[in-house]
C-alpha cells in the first residue's frame, strides 16, 4: 500500500483573464523509501500540484476541480483547515527552494526548529531542544548545541538548506515534498545536499516527492518520474524507462537538452587574441570590511577562434574576470592585451573604438535589456554609435540581425517585457553581435533559462561562432554546458585559476582535487556515462 495516492487531481485558477488549468488531471503514488520526481519547466504546475495537497494554494483564485489525495486513510482535499494543520509539518513536510528566504530572519534557528515539535507533540522546551540538537547533528551541522542560538544569516546557503531539511525532518514525517531543494545552490553543495537527502530517506524510510526542472539532478535519485507540461503528465513511469526509452516528444526534447556530448575539437590556431598577465582585481570593502580580492594574479591566453570555458562556483571571481577583460571593471594591477594592445588602464574614451570588437552577453535576460527601448532601438544603438551602417540601411541591418538570432521581424517594435526569457536572450545576443565583434564574453548566458530553451540558445551561440568567426570566453557554473561548447576549459576557485586544459584533459584526467570534486558533483553523471 502506498503512503500517498494522488488520483486525477485538477486545480484551476480562475483569473480575470480566464481559467488557467494549472494542474489538469494528474495521478501518482508515493511509496515509502522511494522518490517520485516531478519534472517540468517553470509554470508547468508542478509546485501547485504539491502545495494544493496541504491547502497551501490560495483559494480563490485557485480551485480544486477534481481528484483525491489519500494519505493515512483520509482524503486530504476534504479536510478542514484545522485538520490539515495537523498533517502539515507532521505527516508531510516541505523543503522549499531558496534556503535564503525560507527561514525567518527574525528568529533564532533553535526557535524555528523546536516550533513544530512543541506544536505537534507538545514537547517541553527541554525535550524539544534536545531533539533539535540531535537532528541538526544528523544533517551534518557541527557544534549543533551552539548553533541552536544562531541567526539564519550566520549560515551559508548550503548550511541553511541543511537546517531547512532538519526542520522538515524533525517531526519524523512520512512524506517530504522537496521543491527544487538544490536549485539555488552551487554544484558541489548541491551534490552534498542530494546525498544527504538520499541517506536520510533510506534510513527513515520516507517517501519523497522531488520537484525539479532539471532532469540531470533527478537522474541520480528518482525511482519514478512524472514529466509535467501544461498541468498534465505527458509521460510517467520508472526512471530507467524514461531515460532509456522516452515515449513522449517533450520528454525527448528535455533529454536532448541535457548537454551531454562533447564538442568536436576544432584545430586550434595558437595565436592569442587576449593575453592576461598577473591580473588582480580588488574591490574595496564596505565599512569594517576587508578588501575583497575577486581575481588574484590570473594569467591566461585566449586563442583566436576558440571557445574557452571558464568554470567556477559563485564567488569564484569568474564574472569579475570577464568584466575586467571587457574593461567594465578596472583591474587593480596586471596587464590585459587585446590583439597585442595593452588595454588594462585605457580610459573610457580610449576604449571606445575597441568596444566594437569585444562584446559581452549577460546572464539575466530580464535585466540586460533596457525596458523602455524597443528591439529596434536596442539593436540600432550599437549600429549607429559605431557607424556600422548608414542611416538609410539601418532598417535592413536591424532586420538582418534579427534574422541571424532567430527573432521574428514582426516583433521589431516590441518592448522587452513582451518577450519570453529565451527571446530576450536572443535580443541581447543580437545586440552583442551587431558590431561584428571578434571577441565575446558570454557570462552564464543560459543559466536563467528553462532547459529546453538553454539548448536552443547554446546552439545559436555555436552557430554564430562558426558564422562570424568569433572567439568566445564562455563563463558558467555548469560543467555539462561548458563541456558541450568549449574547446578548452579553465577552472577558477577563490579568484585563482586552479586548472587549465583541453576538454578531454580536464574531464578525463583532472589534476586538481577541486576539479575532481566539481566533476563528481555534476548531477546526472549516470546519465552521461550511460546507464
Amino acid at each position: 500500500m502506498s503512503l500517498l495516492q494522488v488520483q486525477d487531481l485538477s486545480i484551476y485558477f480562475h483569473t480575470r483573464n480566464g481559467v488557467v488549468k494549472a494542474v489538469d488531471g494528474i495521478s501518482f503514488d508515493v511509496e515509502a523509501g522511494k522518490t517520485f520526481a516531478i519534472i517540468g519547466e517553470s509554470g508547468s504546475g508542478k509546485s501547485v500540484a504539491c502545495y494544493s495537497m496541504l491547502g497551501l494554494v490560495p483559494m480563490p483564485p485557485g480551485k480544486i476541480e477534481s481528484g483525491k489525495v489519500m494519505f493515512q486513510g483520509r482524503d486530504l482535499l476534504t479536510l478542514s483547515e484545522k485538520e490539515l494543520r495537523k498533517v502539515r509539518g507532521k505527516g508531510i513536510s516541505i523543503i522549499f527552494q531558496d534556503p535564503m528566504t525560507t527561514l525567518n530572519p527574525f528568529l533564532k534557528i533553535g526557535d524555528q526548529l523546536m516550533e513544530p515539535l512543541r506544536l505537534h507533540f507538545g514537547l517541553s522546551r527541554k525535550e524539544a531542544w534536545q531533539r533539535s540538537i540531535d537532528i541538526l547533528e544528523e544533517v551534518g551541522i557541527k557544534n549543533a548545541a551552539q548553533r541552536m542560538n544562531a541567526w539564519p544569516f550566520e549560515f551559508s546557503g548550503g548550511m541553511r538548506q541543511r537546517v531547512v531539511i532538519a526542520m522538515a525532518l524533525v517531526t519524523e514525517p512520512e512524506i517530504i515534498i522537496a521543491d527544487e531543494p538544490t536549485t539555488a545552490l552551487d554544484v558541489t553543495v548541491q551534490a552534498q545536499i542530494l546525498k544527504l537527502l538520499k541517506e536520510l530517506q533510506e534510513r527513515r524510510n520516507i517517501g519523497v516527492i522531488f520537484i525539479s526542472h532539471d532532469l540531470s539532478v533527478v537522474a541520480d535519485i528518482a525511482d519514478e518520474i512524472g514529466v509535467m507540461q501544461y498541468g498534465k503528465f505527458v509521460e510517467q513511469g520508472d526512471r530507467n524507462a524514461i531515460f532509456n526509452n522516452p515515449q513522449d516528444e517533450y520528454t525527448r526534447k528535455l533529454l536532448a537538452a541535457v548537454p551531454g556530448t562533447q564538442k568536436f575539437c576544432a584545430s586550434l590556431s595558437p595565436a592569442a587574441m587576449i593575453k592576461i598577465e598577473d591580473l588582480v582585481v580588488e574591490f574595496p570593502g564596505g565599512k569594517n570590511q576587508d578588501t575583497v580580492i575577486a581575481v588574484n594574479s590570473v594569467s591566461l591566453d585566449i586563442n583566436r577562434h576558440e571557445i574557452l570555458g571558464l568554470v567556477g562556483e559563485s564567488g569564484s571571481g569568474k564574472s569579475t574576470l570577464g568584466r575586467a577583460i571587457t574593461r567594465l571593471v578596472t583591474p587593480t594591477s596586471g596587464k590585459i592585451y587585446f590583439n597585442d594592445e595593452e588595454i588594462s588602464h585605457y580610459s573610457l574614451a580610449r576604449m571606445k573604438p575597441l568596444r566594437r570588437h569585444m562584446q559581452i552577453i549577460f546572464q539575466d535576460p530580464y535585466a540586460s535589456l533596457n525596458p523602455r527601448m524597443t528591439v529596434y532601438d536596442t539593436l540600432a544603438e550599437p549600429l549607429l554609435l559605431h557607424g556600422i551602417c548608414k542611416r538609410k540601411d539601418l532598417e535592413t541591418e536591424v532586420f538582418a540581425l534579427m534574422d541571424s538570432v532567430g527573432l521574428s521581424r514582426e516583433s521589431v517594435l516590441r518592448y522587452p517585457h513582451e518577450f519570453s526569457g529565451g527571446q530576450r536572450q536572443r535580443i541581447a545576443i543580437g545586440r552583442a553581435i551587431a558590431t561584428k565583434p571578434e571577441f565575446i564574453v558570454a557570462d552564464e548566458p543560459v543559466s536563467a533559462l528553462d532547459v529546453t530553451i538553454q539548448a536552443q540558445i547554446l546552439d545559436l551561440l555555436l552557430e554564430l561562432v562558426e558564422r562570424f568567426d568569433l572567439t568566445m570566453l564562455f563563463i558558467s557554473h555548469d560543467l555539462g554546458v561548458v563541456r558541450y561548447l568549449s574547446d578548452r576549459i579553465v577552472v577558477m576557485k577563490e579568484g585563482v585559476l586552479v586548472e587549465t586544459g583541453t576538454v578531454s584533459e580536464v574531464f578525463e584526467t583532472p589534476s586538481q582535487d577541486y576539479t575532481k570534486a566539481l566533476l563528481d558533483a555534476i548531477p546526472g553523471k549516470s546519465l552521461l556515462d550511460g546507464l
Binding site: 573610457l348 540586460s368 524597443t374 545586440r431
Partner: protein, 297 residues
C-alpha cells in the same frame, strides 16, 4: 526614442509594441479614484488660473453693512465678517496655495534630482559623503528652522518657497540616488558601457527614463505635503501675510469665528482637504501604475 520603421521590408503592417509608459497609462485609467482625483485637480487648477476673470466679486470688495451671512444665492459660500464673498476669497487663496505647492515642489525636485543623481552616479566615497550629509540634515527639526527663518527674515513669499523646497528635497534626493544606484548595476547599463556609449548618453538614454517613474510618483505626493506645510505656517500666522491669502490663512480666520459663522471654517477647510485628497489619490494611483511591483498586494 521613437523609431520610424517603414513597412517596405514586410508586406504587411508591423504590430506596435506597448511601452511601459503606455502600460502604466492603461493601469492608471482603470483606477477610478485616481481619475476622479485628476479630474478634480484639473478643475481646481483651471478655476484658480482664471480667477481674476471669473471670480464673482472683487478680492477686496467689502460690504460692511452685509457682515457675515451664510451661503445664499448671491454669495454661494457666504461672506466673512467684512462682507467679503467667501467663494472669491477661496478662489484667490487657492491660487497662492497651489502656487506654493507647485513652485516649492519644483525647487525640491530640482535640488533633489540633481543631488541624488550626482551621488548615485558618482558612487564610492563621494556618494557616501553626500548621503551622510542628507542623513544629518534629515535628522534636523526643519519645521523649527522654517519658523526661525520666517521670523528672522520676515514673512516673504519667495523665502517660503525656498525654505519649504529646501526641506522637501532630502527625500527626493534619497529616492533618486537609490534609483540611479540600482539602475547602474543593471546589466543593460553595463551592456551600454560595453557598447562604448558615453556617460552622458547612458544617463540620458538608459538611466533617466527608467528612474522617472518613482520621481513622478514622489513629486505628486510632495505637492500635498508642501501645501500642508504652507497652510500650517499660515495658520500660525508665520506664512502668507495679508493682503495675500491662502487656504491656511482662511482656515485660521475661520477658526476665530467658527462658533458664530461655521461656514467661514468649513468651506476653506473643504477646499484644502478635497484638493489634498485628489493629489494623494492621484499619487497612489500613479504609484500603482508606474511601479506595479512596489505596490503589489
Amino acid at each position: 526614442m521613437t523609431s520610424k520603421i517603414s513597412t517596405q521590408s514586410l508586406d504587411h503592417d508591423i504590430p506596435k509594441g506597448t511601452s511601459l509608459w503606455e502600460d502604466a497609462l492603461v493601469r492608471l485609467r482603470k483606477n477610478r479614484l485616481s481619475m476622479i482625483g485628476l479630474g478634480f485637480l484639473l478643475f481646481v487648477m483651471i478655476v484658480c488660473l482664471l480667477t481674476p476673470w471669473i471670480a464673482p466679486y472683487g478680492y477686496e470688495e467689502q460690504n460692511l453693512r452685509l457682515g457675515a451671512i451664510p451661503p445664499s444665492m448671491e454669495h454661494w459660500l457666504g461672506t466673512d465678517t467684512f462682507g467679503r464673498d467667501m467663494l472669491t476669497r477661496i478662489m484667490y487663496g487657492g491660487r497662492v496655495s497651489l502656487l506654493v505647492g507647485f513652485i516649492a515642489t519644483s525647487v525640491a525636485l530640482l535640488i533633489g534630482v540633481t543631488y541624488g543623481a550626482i551621488a548615485g552616479y558618482a558612487g564610492g566615497k563621494t556618494d557616501a559623503f553626500m548621503m551622510r550629509l542628507v542623513d544629518i540634515l534629515y535628522a534636523l527639526p526643519f519645521m523649527i528652522f522654517i519658523i526661525l527663518l520666517m521670523v528672522v527674515f520676515g514673512r516673504n513669499l519667495l523665502l517660503l518657497f525656498l525654505a519649504i523646497g529646501a526641506v522637501e528635497w532630502l527625500v527626493m534626493a534619497r529616492i533618486v540616488r537609490g534609483q540611479i544606484q540600482s539602475l547602474r548595476q543593471q546589466e543593460y547599463v553595463e551592456a551600454a558601457i560595453s557598447l562604448g556609449l558615453s556617460p552622458a548618453a547612458i544617463i540620458m538614454k538608459h538611466l533617466i527614463p527608467n528612474a522617472l517613474g518613482p520621481v513622478i510618483v514622489y513629486t505628486t505626493l510632495t505637492i500635498p505635503n508642501v501645501m500642508l506645510l504652507e497652510a500650517f505656517l499660515s495658520f500660525l500666522g508665520l506664512g502668507i501675510q495679508p493682503p495675500e491669502s491662502s487656504w491656511g490663512l482662511l482656515i485660521s480666520y475661520g477658526v476665530e469665528t467658527m462658533e458664530e459663522y461655521p461656514w467661514l471654517l468649513v468651506f476653506p477647510g473643504l477646499a484644502l482637504t478635497t484638493t489634498l485628497f485628489a493629489l494623494n489619490f492621484l499619487g497612489d494611483g500613479l504609484r500603482d501604475a508606474l511601479d506595479p511591483k512596489a505596490s503589489r498586494d
